[in-house]
C-alpha cells in the first residue's frame, strides 16, 4: 500500500475548451430570434471523451446542439442530447450579456462560486454518486457582437480546491501497475463498459479486482459493496488529458467527492484513456493520491475555495473569435459572386481576366432603361465600381422598364434616379462601390441664356472630370444630342466608349474607335491609370481618318440639334418594345468584356460575324465587332463596321483640336449656335454637294438613329 512521506503536489492538467463554429451560429440565431435582450442564464451541454491520442488531449467541446434548439431551424434532431461513447454530456450554464460592458462587469468569482456550490451540494446530497457527470459541471460567460460577428467568451471548470493540496505518492502507466492478467481483464471490462449504451457516457466508475485477477467495473453507488469484496479497488474516470505525468481535471472534483463522502485518505485512481476506440493501458495511468481531509468537509459546511477559469495562452483573459467571414452576409455574398466567376473561368474560359473586371471604373451616362440594365449586367460580370449620371427623377411608369426602381422610389415626387439606382445596386450586392451624380449633360442646339452659362460650364467641367476619372464610359441617354459632348470628351481622352441607342423595334450597340490623337503625351499615363497591364501591348493605330473606327456621330450628316422640340406627341413620348433595352444593354456589356480581353483594346480592329468564321475567333470570347444592329421584327442581328469620318462633328481631328485650343468657349459656341459644328467640319459643304447627287440613304441607319424619349 501507499508509503508515508511527502510526495510532490498532485498537479492536474486543466480542461481545455473547444467551441465549434456551429455553436456561435446557433447562439446568434437564438439571440436574434428568440431571446432578444433577455440575458437570463441559458442551460447548455458540453461534451468530452477519454483521451484518444497519445499526443493530443481531448477538449470539452461545445457544438450547435449544446444550445436549446432555435425554433426557426426546424430540424428533426432530438431535443435531448444523448451521450454516446464519443461524447459524455455534462451540463453547464451560459451567461451571455448584451453589452461588452456587461460582460466585463460580471461578477466572475461570484458566478464561479455559485457553480461550485451546486457541485458541493450534489456531493453531499448523494446526487453526485447517482449521476456522476454533475461533477464536471462548467460555466461559460460570453458577449456576442452581432454587428461585427465577434464573440468574446470565457470558460470556467469549477474545481473544489483541497487545502492542503493532495500529494502524489505514485504515478505510472497502468500497464506497469496491473499484472498481465489483471490488465487483460480490466481492458476487456472497460471496453464493455464503453460499448454499452447505458454506461458509455458515465465518466466516473469503480474498478474492482478480485483475488482471481478478474476485474469488474461498477457504478459509484456500489462503493460500499465493493469496498469489502475487492482486493484492489481503483477509482476510474475518463481522462481527457494525454500527459504521462499528470491526470486530467475531472479527477479534482472526484477526489473531493471521495474524501467528503467516504473519508478516504489514500485514493488509488485510474486515468482511463483510449487509443483508436479501445482501452489503452499503456496510455492510461494509475496513481495514488494522499489527501488530508480538510476540516468541515465531511459536514456540509461552507463551500470550499474554487478555482477553474481557463487561461488564454497563460493569461487571465477571455478569448475572442471573429466569424465575420462565415457569418457576415455581405462577405458571403462577395465570396459567392467570386465563386461564380471563378467557376466560369475554370470550366469554360481559362483566359478570363477577373482582375481587370474587378478593377475597372465604369461611368454610365443615363440611368433609364439602358442604364439600369447595363449596371446589373456589369455587376454580374464582377465589375464593382459603377457611377451613374442622370438628372431625372423616377417617374411612376419607370419601374416596369427600368429594372433598378420600385414603386417606393416614385413616391413624393420621385427620388433622383442617380441616387435611387445606387441604393438599389447596394441592396442587390452590398460590396458594390456605386455613386450617383445628379446632373444634366449640356447639349448642342439647346442654347443657354447668359445667366445659365456659368452653371453649364461647371457641368461641362464636371463631366470632363468624371470622364477622366473613369476607365469605361457608357452612353445610354435618350437623345442624340446629349451624346455629343461625352463623345467629344472621350475622343479627346481616348477612353473606351460604348454607345447604345434604341428605336421602336431596333437597336444599336457600338464601341467608339480611338480618338484622333493617339500619341498624345497624356496617353501613356492614361493607359497605365485606366486599364491593367494586359493592355500594355497596344499597337498604336494610324491617326485620324484612315482606319480608325468611327464613333456614334461619324456617319451622321447633320450635326446633333434639338430633337425634342417641335416633335409631335407620339414622337416625344415614343416607346420602344420592352425587349429591346435588356437585349441592347446585355450586348453592350458583353461587347465591353470582349474588348477588355482583346490585346489591342480600344485600338482593336473590327470583326464581323459571317458564315466563314462561324464564330471561331482567335479570342476565347469570340469576335469583337464594331457595331451591332438588331431588329426585333425579323429577330435578326448584324455586325457592321464604320470608319471614322473626317467631318465627324464629335470626333474628327478638327473638332478635337479646336476643343483643345479653346476649351469651354468652344463647347459654349457649339451649344449656342446650331450650325457652328457643321460649318466647322465642313458638313455644310458636304451637304450642298450631296444634295446635287441624290444618294439614297440606308434605311437601317435612320431607324437606328431614331432617339426615343422614355415616358
Amino acid at each position: 500500500m501507499a508509503e508515508e512521506g511527502s510526495g510532490s503536489i498532485l498537479q492536474f492538467a486543466p480542461f481545455q475548451s473547444s467551441v465549434d463554429e456551429g455553436f456561435w451560429h446557433r447562439l446568434s440565431s437564438l439571440k436574434l430570434n428568440k431571446f432578444g435582450i433577455d440575458d437570463s442564464p441559458i442551460p447548455i451541454s458540453g461534451f468530452y471523451a477519454p483521451c484518444t491520442h497519445p499526443q493530443v488531449s481531448n477538449h470539452l467541446t461545445l457544438v450547435a446542439e449544446s444550445l436549446p434548439s432555435d425554433s426557426n431551424e426546424e430540424s428533426a434532431m432530438p431535443a435531448v442530447i444523448l451521450g454516446n461513447r464519443n461524447r459524455c454530456s455534462v451540463s453547464g450554464i451560459l451567461y451571455n450579456t448584451n453589452t461588452m460592458e456587461g460582460f466585463l462587469a460580471l461578477d466572475k468569482q461570484g458566478l464561479l462560486k455559485a457553480e461550485a456550490k451546486k457541485i458541493w451540494e450534489d456531493i453531499h446530497s448523494r446526487k453526485a454518486v447517482e449521476d456522476c457527470a454533475v461533477l464536471s459541471r462548467f460555466l461559460l460567460i460570453s458577449f456576442s457582437d452581432l454587428k461585427k460577428w465577434s464573440f468574446h467568451y470565457w470558460f470556467a471548470f469549477p474545481a473544489l480546491a483541497l487545502d492542503p493540496p493532495a500529494t502524489l505518492a505514485d504515478l505510472r502507466l497502468a500497464s506497469q501497475w496491473f499484472t498481465l492478467e489483471e490488465a487483460e481483464s480490466v481492458s476487456a471490462q472497460c471496453n464493455e463498459w464503453r460499448n454499452s449504451s447505458e454506461t458509455a457516457d458515465v465518466p466516473y466508475f469503480l474498478v474492482s479486482i478480485g483475488s482471481d485477477s478478474r476485474a469488474a467495473i461498477r457504478h459509484l453507488k456500489d462503493f460500499e459493496a465493493c469496498q469489502h469484496d475487492a482486493q484492489k479497488l481503483l477509482f476510474g474516470f475518463y481522462d481527457p488529458c494525454h500527459l504521462p505525468n499528470n491526470p486530467g481535471w475531472p479527477l479534482r472534483n472526484f477526489l473531493a467527492l471521495i474524501c467528503a463522502r467516504w473519508n478516504l485518505k489514500t485514493v488509488r485512481f485510474l486515468c482511463y484513456r483510449e487509443n483508436r476506440g479501445f482501452a489503452d493501458l499503456s496510455l492510461s495511468l494509475v496513481g495514488e493520491a494522499l489527501i488530508t481531509v480538510p476540516q468541515g468537509w465531511r459536514e456540509d459546511q461552507s463551500v470550499p475555495n474554487v478555482v477553474g477559469w481557463e487561461l488564454n495562452k497563460g493569461r487571465k483573459i477571455p478569448r475572442c473569435i471573429n466569424l465575420a467571414k462565415s457569418m457576415d452576409p455581405t462577405r458571403l455574398a462577395v465570396s459567392a459572386a467570386d465563386l461564380n466567376l471563378k467557376l466560369m473561368r475554370w470550366r469554360a474560359l481559362p483566359s478570363l481576366n477577373l482582375d481587370i473586371l474587378f478593377s475597372i471604373k465604369c461611368l454610365l451616362l443615363g440611368a433609364g432603361t439602358l442604364g439600369c440594365q447595363v449596371a446589373r449586367m456589369l455587376m454580374a460580370w464582377g465589375v464593382r465600381k459603377i457611377t451613374l449620371l442622370d438628372n431625372g427623377r423616377v417617374a411612376i411608369s419607370n419601374p416596369l422598364r427600368q429594372s433598378l426602381y420600385t414603386l417606393d422610389d416614385c413616391l413624393n415626387g420621385g427620388d433622383f434616379k442617380a441616387t435611387a439606382a445606387v441604393r438599389s445596386l447596394q441592396r442587390i450586392f452590398p460590396a458594390v462601390e456605386a455613386e450617383g451624380v445628379v446632373m444634366a449633360i449640356p447639349m448642342p442646339g439647346h442654347p443657354v441664356s447668359s445667366q445659365e452659362e456659368k452653371s453649364v460650364l461647371e457641368d461641362c467641367k464636371r463631366l470632363n472630370d468624371l470622364i477622366d476619372s473613369h476607365d469605361i464610359i457608357f452612353l445610354l441617354t435618350d437623345t442624340r444630342e446629349s451624346r455629343w459632348l461625352p463623345t467629344l470628351l472621350c475622343a479627346n481622352s481616348n477612353k473606351v466608349t460604348i454607345t447604345s441607342a434604341l428605336g421602336f423595334d431596333s437597336f444599336l450597340v457600338m464601341r467608339h474607335g480611338p480618338g484622333p490623337f493617339n500619341s498624345t503625351p497624356g496617353l501613356k499615363a492614361e493607359m497605365e491609370n485606366s486599364l491593367s497591364a494586359g493592355m500594355d501591348n497596344l499597337a498604336l493605330a494610324s491617326t485620324d481618318g484612315g482606319h480608325r473606327l468611327g464613333c456614334y456621330f461619324c456617319n451622321d450628316v447633320v450635326a446633333p440639334t434639338d430633337s425634342t422640340s417641335n416633335r409631335t406627341l407620339d414622337q416625344q413620348c415614343t416607346v420602344t418594345r420592352p425587349g429591346l433595352a435588356p437585349i441592347a444593354s446585355a450586348l453592350s456589356v458583353e461587347l465591353l468584356v470582349g474588348l477588355l480581353h482583346h490585346p489591342h483594346g480600344i485600338f482593336a480592329e473590327a470583326e464581323i460575324a459571317n458564315s466563314n468564321n462561324g464564330g471561331n475567333s482567335e479570342l476565347p470570347l469570340g469576335i469583337l465587332p464594331h457595331q451591332i444592329r438588331g431588329s426585333l421584327p425579323h429577330f435578326q442581328q448584324m455586325t457592321l463596321v464604320g470608319h471614322s469620318s473626317n467631318s465627324c462633328t464629335a470626333c474628327c481631328s478638327t473638332v478635337v483640336s479646336e476643343y483643345r485650343k479653346r476649351g469651354m468657349q468652344f463647347i459654349l459656341q457649339a451649344i449656342n449656335h446650331p450650325t457652328y459644328l457643321e460649318d466647322l467640319t465642313g458638313l455644310t459643304e458636304l451637304m450642298r454637294s450631296a444634295n446635287s447627287f441624290q444618294l439614297d440613304w440606308d434605311d437601317e441607319t435612320e431607324d437606328a438613329d431614331d432617339e426615343c424619349v422614355e415616358l
Binding site: I9, Q11, F12, A13, P14, Q16, S17, S18, V19, D20, E21, G22, F23, H25, Q55, V56, S57, H59, T61, E73, S75, A76, M77, F103, L104, K108, Q109, S150, H152, A161, L162, P165, A166, L243, N246, R252, R276, G277, V307, W309, L311, N312, K313, G314, K316, I317, P318, R319, C320, I321, N322, L323, K325, S326, S335, L339, K342, L343, W346, R347
Partner: protein, 230 residues
C-alpha cells in the same frame, strides 16, 4: 454492374449509400492510421420522393500533421486594456494544484464529410479545419499544411478546385472539392483499371476509387496495393 463504356461516371443516390457502406468497411479493414468513417443519417425531407435514408460519411478531428510548438500568435483580438478590466481581482485563477501548460493551441484538426450531390450525381468531399479551441483555420493555413490543395497545384492538375460553399446539411460554409469533373475522370479511372477482367463499374468499388484520387488532395492517402485484390 454496368458496362463502363456506356457509363457517364455518375452513380445514383441508392448506389451511393451502398458504396458508402462498402467504403467504410474497407477503410476500417485496411487498418490505416486513421479512425473509421461513420455514417451520419440525416432527417428525411418530406418533400423529396426518395424513400431511403439520406446521410453522409464523416471522419472528424483528424490531425493531419503536427505543427511546430512555436506557433504564431493566432488568437484573440483582446486589447491590452481588457486584461485589467476583466481581471479577477486578487483571487488567484489557478492554485498550486493546477499544471500550467505550454500552448496546446497549435494543433490543427480536420473534419471530412463525403456527401452525395444530387445535381452532379457523384460524391463530393467537404472539409474544414480548425484550431484546438474551435476557431476556423483560414485557407492559406490549410494550403500550407496540405500543399496539394493549394490553388497553384490544383490548377496544374486541372481536375478540380476548392470552393467554399454551404454544407448541404449543416448549412454553414465548408470547403469542398468541386464535383464538376468527377464523372469524367471516374469513367476514365474505371476504363483504365486493368485489374478488372471486364470493364464493369462495380458500385462497391466506386467510392474507394474515387477517394484514392480525391483523398490525395487533402493528405489522406490510400496505398494503391489496397485497391487491388478487391
Amino acid at each position: 454492374m454496368m458496362d463502363v463504356l456506356q457509363w457517364d461516371g455518375t452513380l445514383s443516390a441508392k448506389d451511393f449509400r451502398i458504396g458508402a457502406v462498402a467504403f467504410a468497411q474497407k477503410w476500417e479493414s485496411l487498418n490505416l492510421a486513421f479512425p473509421p468513417w461513420s455514417w451520419v443519417p440525416c432527417p428525411k425531407h418530406p418533400w423529396l420522393a426518395s424513400p431511403q435514408e439520406e446521410g453522409y460519411l464523416s471522419l472528424e478531428k483528424i490531425c493531419i500533421s503536427m505543427p511546430q510548438e512555436e506557433d504564431v500568435d493566432q488568437t484573440s483580438q483582446t486589447d491590452p486594456g481588457e486584461e485589467d478590466a476583466s481581471c479577477l481581482g486578487n483571487k488567484d485563477v489557478i492554485d498550486d494544484a493546477t499544471l500550467v501548460q505550454s500552448n496546446q493551441d497549435g494543433l490543427h484538426h480536420y473534419d471530412f464529410h463525403i456527401v452525395y450531390s444530387n445535381i452532379f450525381k457523384v460524391p463530393v468531399l467537404y472539409f474544414r479545419a480548425y484550431y484546438g479551441d474551435g476557431r476556423p483555420l483560414p485557407l492559406d493555413e490549410i494550403e500550407k499544411e496540405l500543399p496539394e490543395c493549394s490553388s497553384n497545384e490544383l490548377s496544374k492538375s486541372k481536375w478540380t478546385f476548392i470552393t467554399q460553399e454551404e454544407h448541404p446539411y449543416l448549412k454553414r460554409p465548408w470547403y469542398k472539392l468541386h464535383p464538376c469533373g468527377t464523372g469524367e475522370w471516374m469513367k476514365l479511372l474505371f476504363l483504365s483499371d486493368t485489374a478488372q477482367p471486364k470493364s464493369q463499374m462495380v458500385v462497391e468499388l466506386y467510392l474507394l476509387s474515387w477517394f484514392s484520387v480525391v483523398g490525395q488532395v487533402v493528405g489522406l492517402r490510400i496505398p494503391s496495393k489496397m485497391l487491388n485484390g478487391c
